[in-house]
């Protein structure tokens, strides 16, 4: 087990090295550099002189060749220095840190909600497979699954922020807090935050809800056709016990993969949704830093997300051995 872990960690480090290298190469290949996308530079009156430009390039480390700059970045990174954001002129860790909480505010509630509802719905659908109520649930889930989250978000915005404007059901269109947030009392502040969260959390949750419950049902359908389920039935076990003890447990392996894969999404958020809701989270940061060619921020985010993805995969593989005694890492 320990040997397996060490091997995985070493492989993970190699993967990280390759990813950061590839992404660094990729972003440096993009046309334009941070200096060219800076709005102040567009002003013809404030056009910096050639020497100034050269000086700024040196400050940003853009005068180095790509491999040289990458090794420079890598060296600094090992000393805990991720560089400074070009756009915000602050250390990358601070820029990301300020965003992480905002994204977690959306992803954690939605992940919990999705699992909380998906497992019972999946089990219910298998148990009642083919019956009228299961078909209805199935159709509704289908419909939900077919609406991309950003379109649902736009529709929700239209309904709650535009159509219901001025009524008791009005919810804020976008953003993370109201304009007059500072002047509110504590209770009002809490409501203000909550009300801004409602629409994004719904948009985040429902697609994964539909996906997870359909996923569970698909796997359950396969399992309940196995011989050991028939045996269990023949033994005279009740339907609940068969469902949960004998069938659901055997669907855990693919389910665990899903859990592992959802870890990076937890921090990564969703670029499109955060853009729609103008939510100052990680996804929006990623999008903006690609647009402004903010190399240090892109690299920091890539590294963070890659570490999480690898951890998620490792976590899933570890859980395999836990949920399935047939699998062991020797």
């Amino acid at each position: 087990m320990a040997g397996y872990l060490i091997r995985r960690v070493l492989l993970g480090l190699l993967t990280l090295l390759l990813i950061t290298m590839a992404v660094y190469g990729l972003i440096r290949m993009m046309p334009g550099d941070p200096l060219a996308t800076d709005a102040a530079m567009m002003n013809p009156e404030k056009m910096p002189s050639a020497e100034d430009l050269q000086r700024m390039k040196a400050v940003y480390g853009l005068d180095k060749s790509v491999p040289e700059a990458y090794i420079h970045w890598l060296g600094n990174m090992f000393q805990g220095d991720f560089g400074s954001s070009f756009a915000e002129k602050k250390p990358v860790l601070d820029v990301i840190g300020a965003r992480v909480v905002n994204t977690l505010k959306l992803t954690v509630p939605s992940l919990v909600l999705a699992y909380l509802f998906a497992i019972p719905i999946g089990l219910f659908s298998t148990a009642r497979s083919g019956k009228a109520d299961e078909r209805l649930v199935g159709v509704v889930l289908y419909m939900l699954y077919a609406i991309p989250s950003f379109i649902a978000a736009l529709f929700l915005q239209l309904l709650f922020a535009v159509k219901l404007e001025g009524t008791a059901f009005e919810l804020p269109l976008m953003g993370i807090k109201g304009d007059e947030y500072e002047s509110l009392t504590d209770v009002q502040k809490a409501w203000d935050q909550l009300s801004h969260m409602i629409l994004p959390v719904i948009s985040f949750t429902y697609v994964s809800l539909a996906y997870y419950s359909r996923f569970i049902k698909a796997n359950m359908e396969e399992v309940i056709r196995q011989d050991y389920i028939r045996t269990a039935k023949a033994k005279g076990l009740g339907p609940v016990r068969i469902m949960i003890h004998h069938a659901f447990r055997n669907t855990l392996i693919p389910f665990v993969t899903l859990l592992g894969l959802s870890l990076p999404a937890l921090l990564g958020g969703a670029i499109i949704l955060e853009q729609v809701f103008n939510w100052p989270g990680m996804g929006q940061l990623y999008f903006r830093s690609i647009l402004t060619r903010d190399y240090p921020v892109i690299m920091g985010l890539t590294l963070a997300l890659s570490v999480l993805t690898l951890l998620g995969q490792l976590f899933a593989d570890m859980l395999y051995a836990f949920v399935d005694p047939r699998i062991s890492y020797k």
Binding site: L11, L14, T15, L18, I19, A22, V23, L26, I27, M29, M30, P31, S129, G130, Y142, M143, Y145, A146, I147, P148, F150, I151, L154, F155, Q157, L158, A161, V162, L173, A218, E221, E222, R225, R230, P264, A265, G268, A270, I271, I272, Q275, V276, Y286, F287, I290, L291, T302, L305, S306, T309, L310, Q313
Partner: protein
């Protein structure tokens, strides 16, 4: 069946888009010759040079009458252009499109977006939506199944290397990879976008294929096939793949839907097919800047919803049809 009908209908709309909405005649007789100017909506080069020479400047109705009184033409069902606003009196006695607040009316069935008719853009956008789904998922499925099958069947070093590569690609969220790749290209077009979508979305299928192959290669029927001397690739693709196909079909068909979704999302972010290319997502993008013009959100949103729904339903049907395990009567 209903879903197949919808996809068929969408395909017909896509193929016939210039005949449904456009400002160029489907057929016209001009100076003694027959022309099909509407085909230039598929490819700008297909516009007959005679119209260029006679300085039509894409204004057909008046020019046809003025330059050749004998001419006749069959017009599309809806006289609107997906690329530009229709101006006053372009068609005799017909007012142009309002630039803002162009809510749905008799002339603009789905309203206008900065003067461009939303109905026309959506009809022409169908083409892009369907193409994106098929082409990019085709690329992704080909790569994913091949890579996954090789990794799962051969195991050992091959598996380790391929799995690392898959991990590598998976570690970077696909939307980020897509955005980065799109940013690389100075002049992205819809084909490049499809290729990028395909190249970034095969990992899930590869992993699933690999897992299925890992499981199935230990089974008796593979041992039996080996014992009668079947070759590796024969075992992989003739014996294991059909048995693994049912679980793999799910991500493939959902992949088509996902590709359509991602294309709309990218266009929504302003990263899609560059304007003035009509795409459902581009219209959504315009709607996002002005929520009071609801028709720019509602109509494309419903179109995307219906398309994705239809593909999902087809996927489900296929899955039920191809999975022998589900064919058994339930006991």
């Amino acid at each position: 069946m209903c879903a197949l009908g919808i996809v068929l209908l969408l395909s017909i709309i896509a193929v016939c888009s210039p005949m449904i909405a456009g400002t160029k005649p489907i057929v016209c007789k001009y100076k003694g010759n027959l022309y099909f100017p509407c085909l230039s909506y598929f490819n700008a080069d297909w516009e007959n040079p005679v119209f260029h020479k006679d300085k039509f400047r894409k204004r057909y109705p008046k020019n046809l009458k003025e330059k050749d009184p004998e001419s006749w033409a069959i017009w599309p069902l809806v006289f609107q252009d997906p690329y530009r606003p229709v101006r006053d009196n372009e068609w005799e006695e017909r007012p142009g499109n309002p630039y803002s607040e162009g809510s749905p009316s008799r002339l603009n069935l789905f309203g206008t977006s900065k003067g461009v008719d939303v109905f026309a853009s959506m009809v022409h956008g169908t083409r892009i939506a369907l193409l994106v789904g098929f082409v990019s998922t085709g690329i992704a499925a080909a790569i994913g199944v091949m890579v996954g099958a090789i990794a799962g069947y051969f195991g050992g070093w091959v598996d380790i290397i391929i799995s690392r590569i898959i991990e590598l690609v998976m570690c970077v969220p696909s939307i980020v990879l897509i955005l980065a790749l799109m940013a690389l290209i100075e002049k992205p077009n819809i084909w490049i976008m499809m290729a990028i979508l395909g190249l970034t979305s095969w990992t899930g299928m590869a992993r699933l294929t690999r897992a299925e192959f890992l499981k199935l290669k230990e089974s008796e029927f593979v041992a039996a096939a080996k014992s009668i001397g079947a070759g590796r690739f024969r075992i992989m693709f003739r014996h294991i793949l059909p048995n693994a196909l049912a679980p793999i079909m799910v991500p493939i068909v959902f992949g088509i839907a996902a590709a359509i979704k991602v294309e709309a999302g990218l266009s929504l972010l302003g990263f899609g097919a560059p304007p003035p290319n009509p795409s459902w997502g581009t219209t959504l993008n315009a709607g996002m800047t002005n929520y009071t013009e609801w028709w720019q959100i509602v109509f494309p949103g419903i179109a995307i919803f219906i398309t994705i729904l239809a593909y999902n339903l087809i996927g489900e049907g296929l899955q039920e049809a191809t999975d022998p395990r589900l064919a058994d009567p339930k006991d």
